[in-house]
Amino acid sequence: MSGILVVQEAGRNRISFEALAAGRVLADLTGLPLETAAVGDPNSNVFVETSGPPPAAAYAVQHPLLESYTSDGYVLAFEQLIRKLEPSYIVFPHTYQSRDYVPRLATRFGQVLIGDITGIEPGPTFVRQLFQGKMNGSYRHQGDGPCFLSIQAGAFRADAPQPGTFTIQPFEPEIPASAIRTKPGAPFRGSAQTVDLGSAQLIVSVGRGIKDADNLPMVQNLATALGAELAASRPICDNGWLPMERQVGSSGQTVAPRLYLAIGISGAIQHLVGMKSSQCIVAINKDPDAPIFEVADYGIVGDLFEVVPALTEAVKAAKQ
């Protein structure tokens, strides 16, 4: 037996379908058939929809002890499924969940997960980022055992989702109660009161260019449209236009979100030190020489009072 098994994660359809797309690339390279599996009821959302051509087979892994995720449960379940199907490649979406159990699973087979892959090339060779994205590394799998892979979010473009039209086979692993050693609690949100810019993924930040507190709602609209947190440089907070806890900079918070949108911020060092580690920095400022452009990935030189509303409209349209 041989083939590619793509493991999907219920509740995370988008990245699961991206993993599926990666699986298809691998299938094209190797000529191997593609199957999917996921923990859950055959009626659960990850089976109801799929993206692209249907897999050769789909497995719904079910067991009462798998209702809450535990690494012990999932490792046991998938170990048994893999021993049954004997795939050559097992592809996972790179999520907090797979990071938690797949390394253990791979060890059971004397294998090592090649994780957070951004590209699959002939060989097959698997590309992943090193040194926080400063370099790429090309990895190859050796030996006869199964090859475990996990796919970075957004690295592969998934086809549009459509209703699934394939047979789903149930698979019930044997999991003794004593095997589950951890007791997970129910997920909960962090405290809603305090602003935790440190964990915000998207931040829209406003500086002196805004000129007046009355202009803040315009920026707030953009933040809301993006689903971002609002932050500010020091003078805005000093003036009391926004609370101190929204300050980013040397005397405020240090943040590293995926997107930092700096509006009307010049980029003084006291502010830069608080946000320079952001993954993507976008700056909107009317001064082409503003220091913020030195650190920005994308910049718009223009009047923020025109750009921001236009951007808000464009974002809303894109999200529809």
Binding site: R208, P235, S250, S251, T254, A268, I269, Q270, V273, P291
Partner: protein, 628 residues
């Protein structure tokens, strides 16, 4: 009526009973005096020896003693009227030494100064002149303390000071009155005994009050460490700074006991002037109280009951306190010593402080920015790299290398150096000089940075350094000496001033108020050079507090990295003072001052004066076709 007798009247004869009484009272007074003074001397002697203390060369010490103690130069210069009054009191005491000795000697029949003899006559009249000025002086000081009540003397009225003033006045008055009575009159005897009792009461009071300075401060001035903010080395594996009483050294103890509570330090302290907890006078008195209560062998923490940790970390190390002290107290080594005690043992828990330390533990600069940013700047400005052949190494520092404004200053200074044909280069790699961590008391990190940098300089074969930042200058020249031999370094104001005649004089009606940076002015005594350079670009205007009185911008001592201040912002207070001069431009010579004023001046909106470093002012005058 009062008529001036020929000379000082004294009782001609003392009875045996009187002589015995005099001996007994004198012995009692001396014993009471010694009981306390001896104890103080013990505490000082039992304190740890000062490492790195050298008595020789004596030249500076003798000069300081002459100028500051005998001439009372600092006392007068920094507070003229009260200073002069005090000087007269002091000179009066000096003149009276011989008189007092003779007074007691004659009380037991062995007087050596005769009022009728030529020397005696002359001397007693001389002393009378001093007595007059002394009495006038002490009276004036009394009025100042009890009626004018300047806030630097504290809220509480000091009855002890009032009593001592009274005693001194009585001493002078009884002496002067003796010129108006006849030898044989009973008034003479009364005056004589009043004078004697006043002295015998004064003597034991001295060591119990701040008047201890009468005896200690000449020694304190003579024995001071020298230099400015001279931080002593740590010795051995158990020395972490001023943690407990056992760490207090003899100099620190001597200084703590010498404090006269004049409040000159507090008067000029930027923290004390902006509503913060820190009060330099109280820091010194806190150490004194600790010594009084617990002594130098105690292992109880110096911070806590006697001095607040919060206060100690509000110091910008501007040095106004140490500069002002008329009795030779060196506040900065004490404050930094207390910080060392807290930081080197991990007792200081501060988010921003930890962030600064962690950034420097892992990286090369205090701002936590990738060194590739500095490389990009060097490339963009096409600054030559130092290759061992150029005359100067241009040290960028953290601000010059990473701060947008600091970079502009460097770029303009480079333009000027190009114009002058100076050969220079910048190092490929620099680490922070360690100034903020040195002033915050992190000796581990400072050693690592100093040693790494000294290695870089040695390998690069740097012979001379010039830089735009006074903090770098001070740290490289003085503080790195603990770990090696740094090459000579100068500040760009000193460099530019040397070439002032080769630089274009700008025709303009601009007025430029020059702000003396603490680390250039008080620390390095460089006041004229930056003014000479500024004068090329406009008319130099002085802020009310200038030269050694310059009011700190608030960034020093690592404070610029420490987040929110309590009370008013030091930078805003100083900026307001500079703006109030009406000058069109604020001239700075330090990138930190520049950074602090930038925010503060922005508050003034459209009407704010320009803010330019002296390098920028100079570059402005260069012919337009100068390439960078």
């Amino acid at each position: 009526m009062l008529s001036l007798a020929a000379t000082l009247a004294e009782p001609q004869h003392f009875s045996l009973a009187e002589k015995l009484l005099l001996i007994v009272l004198t012995a009692a007074s001396a014993a009471a005096f010694w009981r306390r003074f001896g104890a103080v001397l013990d505490k000082i002697r039992q304190s740890k020896k000062d490492p790195g203390f050298h008595l020789f060369p004596l030249g500076r010490r003798v000069w300081d003693f002459f100028w500051e103690v005998l001439c009372q130069a600092k006392v007068i210069r920094q507070r003229p009227l009260p200073g002069l009054a005090h000087a007269f009191v002091f000179w009066g005491f000096c003149a009276f030494a011989l008189v007092t000795l003779n007074h007691f000697a004659s009380g037991i029949g062995v007087g050596f100064l005769s009022p009728s003899g030529p020397f005696g006559r002359f001397y007693f009249y001389l002393a009378a002149a001093f007595a007059f000025t002394c009495a006038a002086g002490i009276f004036g000081l009394f009025v100042r303390r009890f009626f004018i009540r300047p806030k630097w003397l504290g809220q509480k009225l000091s009855w002890e000071s009032g009593f001592i003033a009274l005693l001194i006045f009585v001493l002078m008055a009884t002496y002067l009155a003796a010129f108006f009575v006849a030898d044989a009159s009973p008034a003479t005897r009364i005056l004589w005994w009043t004078h004697t009792l006043a002295i015998l009461i004064f003597l034991p009071i001295i060591p119990h009050t701040k008047h201890l300075h009468l005896l200690l401060s000449p020694a304190t001035v003579f024995l001071s460490r020298g230099g400015f903010s001279q931080i002593p080395p740590l010795v051995g594996d158990e020395d972490f700074g001023l943690v407990a009483g056992t760490d207090l050294t003899q100099l620190v103890s001597l200084q703590a006991y010498s404090c006269v509570e004049c409040g000159r330090c507090t008067e000029h302290c930027p923290a004390a002037n902006t509503g913060k907890l820190l009060n330099p006078k109280e820091i010194v008195l806190g150490v004194r109280a600790y010594l009084n209560d617990l002594g130098p062998a105690s292992d109880q923490s110096l911070l806590g009951k006697y001095n607040a940790q919060e206060a100690v970390f509000q110091c910008t190390t501007c040095g106004a306190c140490e500069f002002q002290c008329p009795v030779g107290i060196e506040h900065l080594p004490i404050l930094i010593g207390l910080r060392r005690g807290a930081v080197n043992t991990g007792a200081w828990e501060d988010d921003y402080g930890a962030k600064l330390f962690l950034a420097l533990e892992r990286g090369s600069n205090a701002l936590g920015i990738s060194p590739s940013e500095r490389d990009k700047f060097i490339q963009k400005q096409a600054l030559a790299l130092f290759d061992g052949t150029q005359e100067y190494c241009l040290w960028l520092g953290c601000m010059g290398g990473y701060d947008p404004k600091g970079r502009e200053i460097v770029a303009d200074f480079a333009r000027v150096m190009n114009y002058l044909g100076t050969s220079y280069g910048v190092l490929r790699k620099e680490k922070c000089t360690g100034d903020p961590v040195r002033r915050l008391g992190n000796d581990l990190l400072f050693q690592q940075l100093a040693e790494a940098n000294l290695e870089i300089l040695a390998q690069s074969k740097v012979k001379k350094i010039v830089t735009i930042c006074p903090h770098c200058v001070r740290t490289i020249q003085e503080d790195w000496k603990d770990y090696g031999t740094p090459p000579p370094i100068e500040h760009h104001s000193e460099f530019l001033a040397r070439f002032a005649d080769k630089l274009p004089k700008q025709i303009t009606d601009e007025t430029i108020v020059y702000h003396d940076p603490c680390y250039l002015g008080r620390y390095r005594n460089v006041f004229d050079e930056p003014r000479a350079v500024t004068a090329l670009a406009g008319t130099v205007v002085e802020a009310p507090r200038n030269h050694e009185r310059s009011f700190c911008c608030g960034a020093g001592g690592g404070l610029t990295f420490l987040g929110e201040e309590t009370g008013e912002r030091v930078s805003h207070v100083r900026a307001a003072e500079l703006v109030a001069t009406g000058a069109t431009t604020v001239g700075t010579a330090c990138p930190f001052c520049n950074s602090m004023f930038r925010d503060a001046l922005a508050e003034s909106g459209e009407a704010a004066p320009q803010l330019l470093d002296i390098a920028q002012l100079t570059a402005r005058g260069l012919p337009k076709n100068e390439a960078v």
